[in-house]
Structures are given as C-alpha cells and as structure tokens.
C-alpha cells in the first residue's frame, strides 16, 4: 500500500519527479500518509509507516515526528506506557532541537501525570510541561503544555494554579487547538473553587468563542447545573411532571439508578434481574442480567459497573468475583455480600462487602491489596467517585458520608445531622460535576450538600415519599427512584 501510494504520487506530480526520489521526500510522504491513516482509524498501517521512517530513513528530518507518532500509538492505542515512554524519550534525547521534541516532553508529562501516585509525580509532570514552555516558546505545543499544567494542578487540588494555567491558554493562545478545552477547564476550576458566577461566565465563553467545539454542549450542561443551584440566589428545583421512564416490571424493586454522561439512564431492577438502559428518548435497550443486584457505578473509562451480591460486571463482558485472604495462609475467602464497587482513577478497585463490614482494595490486576481506607469495620453501602480524585462512601449504619482520597486520607464528611438536616435512613448517594453530594434518604427525600457539607436544598415532602435511589444528569437535574410509587421522578 505504501509503495503503491508513493508510485501514485510520483505519477500524479511529474514535475516533482526529481524531488520525489530523495529520501527526505519519501519520508515526508510516509509521514503524511501515516497521519492520514491514523485519522481514518487505520492505526496498524499508520504504525507501519512511522516505523518504516525510523528504520528505513534514519537520516531524514522526519524521524522525530515518526517517533512521536509511534509513542502516541503505544500510549493511546496499545496503552503500553513503557513503550510509549521509550519512544518519547528517544525524541528528547536524540532530537532535542527538533519540532517533535516539545511534543515528546508534553507526552512524557502526560504519562507521568495520568499515572501519578504521589505529589512528586505531579511535580515531575509539571516540570516536563514547563520545559516545553521554556525551551520551545514558539512551539504549537506550548498551549497544550499549559493546558496540561492546569490539569496537573487540578489533580493536586491546586485549583487557583489550575485556573491560572488554563486562563493563560485562553488569554495567550485563543486560537490554539487546546483553547476550547482550556477555557472549559478554567470554568470548571472556578466552579470547584466555589466561584460559581465567574464559572458560569467562563463556561459561557466556551459557547461564545468555540461554539462548534465538543466542549460547547457540555458547557451548556454545566451552566444549567450551576444556574439551577446558584443562579437565582437559592437552588431552584421543580418536579418535571411530564417525565416518565420505564416499562413493565423494570421499575419494580429498583436497587440503583445511574445517568451516564451520554444521558443513558441505567436502572438496576432486582425484579427483572437486570440493569436496563433507557436512551434519552426513553427507548429501552438490552439489559445486563444479574442476580441480587445491589448498585450501579461508572468507571473512570466510562464502563458501567453493575454490582450484584456475589459478583461485579465490569463492563458488558467481564464478570468478576472477589476474594480476600482467608484465616489460614494460602486460603482465600470469597466476598459474597457485595454492596458497592468502584474503580479509582489510579486503577484500583474498591469493593464494599456487607458481611465483612469493610471495603477492600484490589489492584488493577484484581489482586487483593488491603482494607480501605483502614481496617475499621463500617457498613459502606455505596461507593461513588466525585470526579476530582475523591471517593465518596455512604456509611449506612453511621448515617454519614465520608469523602477520602485514593490513599484513604479523609477529605470531607457529611455528618448525620447538621444545620437544617438529619440523615435518617440514607440509602444512596450521587455526586454532580462540582462535587455536590446528593443523598437519597428513604425518610427524608433527597438532600443536596455542597462540597464542604453545607445543605443546599432538600427535595422531598409530598413529591418524594420513599427515596430509594438517586442520580444526577449532566445538566444537574435530579432523578430519584421513589419506591412507594415505583416511579423515577425528575426534578429539573
């Protein structure tokens, strides 16, 4: 294919025939074709082209670009971090003055950041991004590196610095391809920092300045969610009387509901022993079967996690059981009363078992690690990620909600009672894009708390008789399963 394409090129451009024969031109052609293949999804062919440049045209000026593309392939397609890192490091060591070098530093920083397990990892990543800005100030990678700097700061919880970095991209590189994402990131950082009005304005700038970008519709959802909570002085929710979803027995014995970013509503019904998806238009899709369903959650990669008492469905095809070390060496003990499962951003799997009254951590290969966050017994019935590295744990017996980080360090707590509320029978918990926590209380409706734990609003009274499950849609509307009327209610 490569040879045919090259020949075609020569035939089509006879005036360039003399120039086409040079290794430089051949390497350029291979690179351009490889990038085209990548855009068309022909990834293996793309990789072949890039590797041909490295091995067959080692003295041309395109080797750095080819190595960069190879690194991207290993990172984004094969998820082979080691090979990706090796390719990027080749660029930075062998071709430090090339156009590809800043890109290599950028990717090395991204690799480090996305697998960061400690603050020093984030610092290393920041150093890589800073190198791009300092050594290649006019490179097209600078805005991307700045954007990534913001992400790194945000990962560390340094929201002011994250906003600053994102602001710089929007201010200094408004036409770069990183600008829409950076503008969005800026708004999100401001929202997370509690500057809601400014956040709404900045989300609006995403829509005003980059209306065609993928971030524009997401920005609309964020503005709507923020405006609902903070726009008019106090949160404004109203029951959507026209809302109706479900068919047959799907809304009986519902153990959990979950709205995905794509607005698919999953309903885990123990009556039909399935988790059933409902599309935004209400159409029901094929369900995932399971005995004794307990809860639903989403993994960071977007996979649906369906927790049943004895096993967890990790994605549509992966059914997983869990076991912990037994009392005797070499023995294992299966976990048979699972209540909730969550996959952390670092790839750990946290499993809450009712019988053991503990949460257990398993690594990415599902090897048992230790109790989480500690060995203390607690009846955790729900586990949810808050999107910012926090793990939300609903302690049913204590009637509290704890937020801890990946290492188990406590971040926040919503106590049993506080100003204006009391948690009487909390059964489910959800988190929105801004770390606001929504607690479904069978006796209290749905209580909405800000990240520091301040009660923002209560949805209940005559509208919600027996809240059994809760979820939040991308635009901040709250969906509650009312076990009394066996309906899913929507508050918009």
């Amino acid at each position: 294919m490569i040879l045919r394409r090259t020949l075609l090129l020569v035939l089509l451009l006879p005036s360039l025939a003399a120039a086409q024969n040079s290794p430089e031109d051949q390497a350029r052609g291979l690179l351009e074709d490889g990038r085209t293949y990548r855009k068309e999804g022909k990834l293996k062919q793309a990789l072949d082209n890039f590797q041909t440049i490295v091995s067959g045209f080692p003295n041309t000026s395109f080797v750095d670009d080819a190595l960069l593309e190879i690194g991207r392939y290993y990172l984004e397609v094969d998820h082979d971090v080691a090979k990706a890192r090796e390719a990027f490091e080749q660029v930075t060591k062998r071709f430090p003055q090339s156009d590809g070098a800043p890109g290599a530093y950028y990717y090395l920083g991204r690799l480090t950041m996305e697998r960061a397990a400690a603050p020093t990892d984030i610092d290393d990543a920041l150093a890589q991004f800073a190198r791009v800005q300092r050594l290649y100030p006019r490179s097209e990678w600078v805005p991307r590196a700045l954007y990534a700097t913001g992400l790194a700061h945000r990962k560390s919880g340094r929201l002011a610095e994250a906003a600053e970095a994102a602001r710089r991209v929007a201010l200094e590189h408004p036409s770069s391809d990183a600008a829409p994402a950076a503008q969005f990131e800026l708004a999100q950082d401001l929202a997370l920092a509690g500057e809601f009005r400014q956040a709404m304005e900045e989300f609006q700038q995403v829509r005003n300045r980059y209306p065609e970008s993928e971030w524009s519709p997401v920005a609309l959802d964020r503005i709507t969610a923020l405006y609902r909570l903070y726009g008019a002085g106090k949160p404004a929710f109203a029951l959507d009387a026209a809302y109706s979803v479900g068919a047959g027995d799907t809304l009986k014995d519902v153990r959990g509901i979950l709205m995905t970013p794509a607005r698919t509503l999953w309903v885990a019904s123990d009556k039909v022993k399935s988790a059933i998806p409902f599309a935004p238009d209400g159409k029901m899709g094929p369900g995932l079967g399971g005995e004794d369903l307990q809860s639903l959650s989403l993994a960071p990669n977007g996979d649906l996690l369906v927790t049943a008492a004895r096993a967890v469905r990790l994605g549509p095809k992966n059914l997983q059981t869990f076991a912990i070390p037994g009392s005797k060496p070499g023995e294992t003990e299966p976990l048979e009363k699972l209540e909730a499962v969550v996959v952390t951003p670092a790839g750990s799997v946290l499993v809450a078992d009712e019988k053991k009254k503990k949460v257990f951590r398993f690594d990415g290969k599902l090897q048992y690690q230790a109790p989480f966050p500690d060995a203390k017994e607690r009846q955790v019935s729900r586990l949810v990620l808050d999107g910012e590295g926090g793990i939300v744990m609903l302690d049913r017996d204590e009637r509290t909600v704890h937020v801890v980080d990946e290492a188990g360090k406590p971040l926040r707590i919503i106590a049993t009672r506080g100003p204006g509320y009391e948690l009487r029978k909390p059964v489910d918990v959800a988190v929105d894009s801004f770390r606001n926590i929504y607690i479904a209380d069978e006796e209290g409706g749905v209580l909405i708390f800000s990240p520091p734990g301040q009660l923002l609003a209560t949805l209940g009274g005559a509208d919600v008789r027996k809240a059994r499950a809760v979820t939040v849609d991308p635009a901040g509307a709250v969906l509650v399963y009312d076990d009394k009327v066996q309906r899913i209610l929507r508050f918009k």
């Binding site: 100030p137 829509r207 609309l220 709507t224």
Partner: protein, 732 residues
C-alpha cells in the same frame, strides 16, 4: 575693433551692431556647432597670435611674419571649409593686418598690399585704427581697400527687412551705404509676413548702389490686449505667444475703449504670420476660464482684436483627514495642516497629498469653477517595498520577473500605500550601518537593536511606516516567495508564502493585509448565560455604568427576545448587538417570573477590544502600523490610550517585553479609571511584562496595584475581572 564710418551713418551703425554680424561673406557657424577640433585649433591659434603679437611689438618685428603666416594658413583652412567661427575671423583679420604692417615696415609693400587685400576680402568693412597705426599705413590700407570695395544702401517699405547678398546676411533695412566687395550680387530682401524680393546688382569699386524696395504683405498680424497679462495665446491648437507687459501711455485710451482695466491689462501683443483664412484662438491662463475666439483673416494686413478679458476660475477645497494634523501639499506646494479650508484654488486637476507621521493620503481631484469640494482624506500607513532577496543562484535569475509580478499584484492593497522604495536611498541607509536587506530578515546577521534602529531610520528617510521584503528560498523549484512584512521599529516580521505566479495566493495575502483588527465593538454591558432551564437566556450580571445598567436591567431577568426576535441562546443576543452601531437602540423583551413581560430599550455604547495575544490569522506588524496611526493621530485621547494598550499586546506577541513595558507605562496613566478596560488592565499587563523581564518585585507591585482596580477587566468591558487574577499573582 572700431569701425571707421562716416558720421551720418551712426544710426546705421547702431542698427548694424544690434543686428547679427553685418557681413557680405559667409556667416560664422553658430558657436554651439563648433566641433571639438575647431575649438582646439582656435585655442592653439589664439596662443600663436599672442606670441606673434608680442614678436610684432618687439624689436625684431619682421620675425612675426612667419608666425602670422602660420596663423593665416591654419585659419584659411577653416575658412575654406566654412567652419571658421566669428572669433576665428577676428583672429584672422588681426593676423592679416599685423602681417601687412610688418611687411610694410620692412619695405615689402606689395606683400603688405596682398595682406591688406586678403583682409578686405575677408572683411570689407574693416578699418585700421588711426590712433594706433601710422598714417602712412592707414592711408596705404585705405588705398588698397578703395580699389576693392563699393557701397550698397537698401531701404524697404516697411523697414526692418533682412538684406542678404548672395545668401549672406548683410543688414536690416533701412541702412545707409555699407562697404561691400565690388562684384555681382543677388540681393535678397526678406521680412516675415511679406514676399521676399530679389534684385541683381553689380557694385563697382568706389561706386554706391542704392536699392529701394516695396515689400508685398503676404501674412496678417493680429494685435491683442488681454486682462490680465500673462495669457497664453493658442492659435489653431499651437501655443504662439504669451501676453506680457503693460499698456504704454499712448494705449491707455485704446485699452479702456476695449473694456479692459489698464491697471491689469497686458501690453499690445502681436500675433504675427497669420495666414489668410479662419483661425481658432484660445486664451489660456491658470486659474482663469479659457476664452475662445475665432478670427477671420481675409487679407494680409494688421488686425486689431477686441479686448480679451479672462474670468477667474477658482473653487475651494475643504480638507479633513483622519487622523487630523496632516501636512497638506497641493501640487507639491505646502498649504497648511488638516483640517483646512483652501480658498481660491484654481479650477482643474490637482494632486492632493496629506502627510502624517502615521501615513499619508494621495488623490488627484478636479476642481470646477466656483465648486466647493469637501474631501475626506483618510490617512493610510505606507509600506515601502524593499525588493527581492534570493537565497540561491537560481533565485537570483528569476528575481527580476518575481519583482515585476510582486509589484503588479501588491499595488492592489487597499488599506496601505504600497510604495516601491528608491533603491539608492535604501542602499545608502543600509550601507551606513553595513547591512544588507537579508540581514533584516529572521536568521540574518543583524542584532535586533540594530534592525530596530535601521528600520526607524529608513522609515524616516522614506516617510513610511513599514516595509516589505520578498525572500526567494533556496528551493529547487522556484515557485514561492516568502513575503516579510515588518513595521518600522519592530524586529520580527510577519511572513506569508505566495506562489508568485498565482494571483489567488496574492489575494489571500492582500485580504490578510487589508483586514483591520477589531478595536471597538458595540456594547450593552449585559452578561447572559445559556441554560436549558429557560426558553430565553437569564441575565447573570450587568456591568456597572453600562447601557444595560442605565436601562435598569437586573440580574436573573430572563431575556426572551431582542428587537422582536426570539432569543434562544446568548449568541442570538450577541449577533443582534454586533449588527448595530454605538448610539443605536436595541429593544429587549424580558420574561418575568410570573410570565409577565417587560420591554426595555438600551442605547448601545462602545467597548474597546484587546487584540488577541496570538491569532494566526492576524498580521501583527500591520496591526501595529494601524495602532501607531491611532496613537500618533489622536494624542491624549482614549483612542490613543487603548491603541497603546494594544501595541503593548502586539509587542508581547513578539516577545518584546521591553517594548511592551514602554507602552504600558504610558497606557496606565492615559487609560480611564472606570469599569472595563482601564488602568487596572494596563497594570496587570505591566506586571506580566515585568515578570517576563525578570523584575519580580516590580511585577508584584504592579499586580497589587492592579488588584486595587476592582472593576477593571481583560479582553473588553465584559471580560474577566483583573482584580482576582492580579491578587493571586501579587501574592494576596
């Protein structure tokens, strides 16, 4: 040389001296026609004459004869060739006289007589000075002469005719008897406008022949007096003469009789040599209406025309420029500073130039009689084209063709004056700093400070604001040129590739050049957000002091329609505002909480706008030229202040934080202190610039000062607040 003539012929003498040389023999060739050889020969002979004369006056006078012989021999050669000029004739005459006298003094009277005869044949009117020469020699000379010459007197009616003997001019009539060599002659009497008369005469030695000739007129003359004087008279499309002078006392009555003012009228001017028939006359003078007449000339005589009075033909010009303060040049003459009214501008075509430090305006206009013409003179920056630089020998070969194509296409620029720079001027300035054109380009040898200095010098010299250089890269196929556009005083050009054979690629460049950065846009001060909760868009905030604030709009109101059109998202509102201008009204319809509607009219204001720091579609050097025009054209105004802020941003785009710092220091005092883009904005950017320059403490001070401006914004009056950003950077 004094001519010995009878007393009664004094008048003739006066006329003769006033006329071209009165000789019967050949005339001297005009001095302009003297060849180099003749001049050289003349010079040599003159030297010889001096030596010979010295010898003549010395004790051995006879020795001078040989020298005089040589002079005679050499000059006679020229004489026979017809190339002997007037001066040569004088030398030859002197040589003959002195040789003759020398011969006489040594007793060789025959030889003396020969010399005298040659002398008289050369110049029949020659006389030997009685004061300097002995009477015997004088008598001897006269006796020789008498044997050779006769006398001729010619009179004509009218007088003033040229008399020629055998084609050689003699004198103007009427003249008393002149000495001529005895012989047969054809006498020609000619006067312009008259038929030439010819007579044949024979003149004997010592005899006097007299001719009286009636001349027959063949052409007419017209006599013209004009008011004013200095009027060109065009006859049948050809310029014949120009009236001048003033009427003499004897003509005053006649002039008045013609209806003219003697104080302004010309003298009586002859338009001679009019052939019989009909003629078209035009009387033209700048700033006067042309007068046309037809004259009939049935016979050859003098005609007296009516007085020709020309009427003023002037108009006026009112010149305004943006920016004002430009120096006006009308047909190259300085006429003041814009805005200016120019009265009494001659009707007709004029070239108007208005030169400003930030650019110029050039236009040709036609002003009609009594027309009052108002001309807006938008000043455009000028871009000097410095030429083509080639990186290879192949490029050198095609450079002239490329240059031609470039100039042809780039002259179509609409917002800049495209000026091919005089090569010598550019070379001189560059050579004074030992630079080439290539050194001004990126990767060139020159230091940035030197590039800055040289471009400022060139700009002053050429009166331009920017430069364009085309680079032909060293590629195998010579198809592209890289255009480098550089504002004066800047060091980093914008570059643009053109395929110099394709017009379309120039069009893209010209579009980019002619694009003006948006510096102001209409403004309401209304900040709305999109939300799926409402049909319209809720108001999030209202900028204090803005048009929306003045109209009483409140946050949380939901905007449902603008000018009757439903608003579904914020972009609908923005589009409606963008479609209007400042001071126009915008009708807003709000939907209340209970469904009640409220209508509000907002009078739009204007918000200044920052240039984006990095916009690949902008040519920042061109933007800088436009901004400098604002700074230099409107000093002390907010327009200039905002332009300076944007100049700082342009400087930051190029990484020139020192220049940005300079601009911001001025901008921070010139900008207003009110909500929106203001002093706080400049202070924030000043902090950024100081930080990049390494002045950390000064940067922090600037940020802290910026944080004190609570309502200052970035980007435009609706943009993000400076205070929290500055507070964070200032360590608050």
């Amino acid at each position: 040389m004094k001519m010995a003539l009878p007393r009664g012929l004094t008048l003739v003498l006066a006329l003769a001296l006033a006329a071209p040389p009165a000789r019967a023999q050949e005339t001297a060739p005009p001095s302009g026609a003297l060849s180099e050889a003749v001049q050289k020969e003349l010079g040599a002979v003159q030297d010889l004459l001096a030596r010979a004369t010295a010898e003549f006056e010395g004790p051995q006078q006879s020795r001078s004869i040989v020298q005089f012989d040589e002079i005679v021999t050499r000059l006679e050669v020229l004489h026979r060739q017809g190339t002997l000029p007037t001066r040569g004739r004088e030398i030859l005459s002197t040589a003959y006289e002195l040789r003759a006298r020398a011969y006489y003094n040594i007793g060789l009277q025959e030889k003396a007589a020969d010399s005298f005869r040659s002398l008289v044949q050369l110049n029949p009117q020659y006389s030997v000075s009685k004061e300097k020469v002995s009477p015997k020699v004088v008598d001897y000379f006269n006796s020789v002469k008498k044997a050779l010459v006769g006398y001729l007197a010619v009179s004509s009616s009218p007088a003033g005719a040229k008399v020629s003997l055998n084609g050689d001019f003699l004198s103007l009539t009427d003249f008393f008897p002149l000495e001529v060599l005895a012989g047969e002659y054809t006498v020609e009497i000619a006067r312009e406008g008259y038929r030439t008369e010819t007579r044949t005469i024979s003149i004997a030695p010592k005899a006097t022949e007299t001719l009286q000739v009636e001349l027959t007129r063949t052409l007419a003359s017209a006599f013209v007096v004009t008011e004013p004087a200095g009027v060109e008279i065009w006859l049948d499309g050809q310029l014949r003469t120009t009236t001048s002078g003033t009427p003499g006392p004897e003509l005053l009555e006649m002039v008045r009789g013609k209806g003219l003012d003697p104080g302004r009228a010309s003298g009586r001017t002859e338009l001679g040599n009019l052939s019989l028939g009909s003629h078209n006359l035009e009387f033209r003078k700048k700033c006067y209406e042309t007068v046309k007449r037809q004259i009939e000339v049935p016979e050859a005589r003098d005609y007296e025309t009516d007085g020709i009075k020309l009427q003023d033909s002037v108009g006026s010009l009112q010149l305004r420029s943006e920016p004002p303060g430009g120096r006006i040049f009308l047909d190259g003459e300085p006429m003041g500073i814009t805005p200016k009214d120019l009265d009494a501008v001659c009707s007709g075509k004029h070239r108007i130039e208005v030169k400003h430090t930030s650019g110029k305006f050039i236009q040709d206009v036609v002003v009609g009689k009594d027309e009052s013409l108002t001309l807006d003179c938008p000043i455009r920056p000028s871009l000097a084209y410095l030429g083509v630089v080639a990186e290879s020998a192949a490029g050198e070969r095609v450079a002239p063709d490329v240059e031609e194509k470039l100039i042809e296409n780039l002259q179509k620029m609409a917002t800049l004056n495209f000026v091919p720079a005089p090569r010598e001027t550019v070379d001189r300035v560059l050579e004074s700093e030992k630079l080439t054109r290539k050194a001004l380009l990126p990767g060139g040898s020159a230091e940035p400070d030197l590039v800055k200095k040289v471009t400022e010098k060139l700009a002053a010299s050429l009166e331009v604001q920017g430069f364009l250089i085309a680079l032909l890269p060293g590629e195998k196929l010579q198809r592209t040129a890289v255009l480098h556009l550089l504002a004066a005083g800047n060091t980093v050009p914008d570059t643009w590739d053109v395929s110099f054979g394709e017009s379309a690629s120039y069009m893209r460049f010209l579009s980019a050049v002619d694009r003006k950065a948006t510096l102001y846009r209409p403004w309401t001060g209304l900040i709305t957000v999109d939300s799926a909760m409402f049909e319209g868009v809720p108001v999030l905030r209202v900028v204090p002091g803005s048009p929306a604030a003045q109209a009483g709009v409140q946050p949380a109101e939901v905007l449902a329609a603008v000018d009757g059109k439903a608003v579904k998202q914020t972009s609908d509102l923005l589009a409606a505002v963008e479609g209007k201008k400042a001071k126009e009204k915008l009708g807003l319809q709000f939907k209340g909480a209970g469904g009640a509607a409220r209508a509000v009219d907002v009078t739009l204001a204007e918000t200044p706008q920052e240039i984006p720091l990095n916009d690949p579609s902008l040519l920042y050097n061109k933007v800088m030229m436009d901004l400098r025009q604002q700074v230099e054209g409107y000093p002390g105004t907010e327009t200039a202040a905002f332009a300076r802020l944007n100049l700082a941003i342009c400087a930051m785009h190029f990484g020139d934080f020192a220049a940005a710092h300079e601009h911001l220091l001025k901008a921070r005092t010139e900008l207003p202190a009110r909500p929106g883009l203001s002093q706080g904005t400049a202070l924030y950017y000043l902090g950024l610039a100081l930080e990049r320059l390494g002045y950390k403490k000064e940067a922090v001070d600037a940020y802290r000062a910026a944080a004190g401006f609570k309502d200052a914004t970035l980007f435009n009056n609706d943009g993000p607040s400076v205070a929290p950003l500055a507070a964070r950077r200032g360590g608050n």
